[in-house]
């Protein structure tokens, strides 16, 4: 039986950081799943973002749905510079002991014939949602960056990549 859902790499922050990057990702899997358990330093009030292969251009788009205190919401953006790895504008929690889970799946990440679809689920404090993003490139994904636009991920935040193989 083929081994699947293999841990590829993990990072646990020993100090706050704005960016976590995984590089030289093997192309031997079918999908990549990133599981992030994160909180931000006080005052960051920012969302969890991702880019791939160092692409900071307007080559992404996304659609999201989220449940927040204001109600159910949805939205989208085209020609944007980021993958929305959670739902909408859900800020990462800043509480002392609360880390929020986000699961991000990069589908067919090493396929060189298709653009890349990314599915995300976020479960923040008093907020839940999902998003789908598109990276308009047929290049295989070889690096994944997680970041926030302002502030930092706090100490103890974890980021883990798993490889899923279809056969």
């Amino acid at each position: 039986m083929a081994a699947t859902y293999e841990p590829i790499a993990t990072t646990t922050l020993g100090s706050s950081a704005n960016t976590v990057t995984f590089s030289s990702i093997s192309g031997s899997y079918t999908d990549i799943v990133a599981v992030c358990s994160v909180k931000a330093t006080t005052g960051s009030d920012e969302v969890l973002r991702s880019q791939v292969n160092g692409d900071t251009g307007s080559n992404y788009s996304y659609t999201y749905v989220q449940g927040v205190s204001a109600g159910a919401q949805s939205g989208r953006a085209s020609n944007t510079s980021l993958i929305l790895t959670q739902a909408g504008n859900l800020a990462i929690p800043e509480g002392a002991s609360t880390f929020a889970p986000y699961v991000v799946q990069y589908m067919n990440y090493s396929n060189t014939n298709t653009f890349k679809t990314i599915l995300s689920r976020g479960a923040g404090v008093n907020q839940a949602g999902a998003s789908v993003s598109l990276w308009r490139s047929t290049s295989a994904i070889t690096s994944i960056r997680f970041y926030i636009a302002a502030g930092n991920f706090d100490t103890g935040s974890t980021f883990t990549l798993y490889g899923i193989k279809a056969a």
């Binding site: 859902y5 293999e6 599981v35 449940g67 609360t98 880390f99 479960a123 008093n126 907020q127 839940a128």
Partner: protein, 175 residues
């Protein structure tokens, strides 16, 4: 490289029962990083669906949750709660289409950490009629204790989990 996403335990009901618990999870604290519970559920409530509830370590305090829900064919809303369990996710009940079980998946990262425990839940109930449910839930147990047991049950104390319901608990290790 280690293979992960390992089946730790399972419960497949041969008769109706009030709840399902997975205990002794402290023994996995150094083996796995995260836990995932995948369930196929129907309960005995006389409705199309009802709330399920999730508790840890037999604790009945410190819980809160937020859900975005789609149901009844046209309703989308967001709701929140707090109290004695995480319970804004749903399971199929006994007035729904026969032989139909709903599904929920509960992802619990860092289950043995000394931080509060956040969970992500996806749930669906299906019914060949106008009343079915889909939800995305964020739950929080504001307790720093490592999770050593997980219990799921119908929120209504008068309902039981129905025979044929299945629950699979997986351990996921990040290295």
């Amino acid at each position: 490289m280690a293979t992960t996403y390992t089946l730790i335990d399972k419960s497949i009901l041969g008769s109706n029962q009030a709840s399902v618990s997975f205990t002794g999870l402290g023994s996995y604290s150094s083996t796995y990083t995260d836990l995932k519970l995948v369930a196929s559920v129907r309960d005995t409530s006389a409705s199309n669906y009802q709330n399920a509830k999730l508790t840890f370590n037999s604790s009945t305090s410190g819980y809160s949750d937020r859900a975005i829900r789609a149901y009844g064919g046209s309703t989308v809303d967001s709701t929140s709660g707090s109290g004695s369990s995480i319970n804004l996710f749903y399971e199929t009940s006994d007035s729904a289409t026969a032989n139909t079980f709903g599904t929920y998946e509960i992802y619990i990262p860092n289950f043995s950490s000394s931080n509060y425990k956040s969970v992500s839940i996806d749930c669906v109930t299906e019914n060949n009629a106008s009343d079915a449910f889909l939800g995305l839930v964020a739950g929080l147990w504001s307790n720093t204790a490592a999770i050593t047991s997980i219990t799921v049950a119908p929120l209504s104390g008068s309902a039981n989990l129905k025979s044929g319901s299945s629950f699979y608990l997986y351990g996921i290790k990040n290295s």
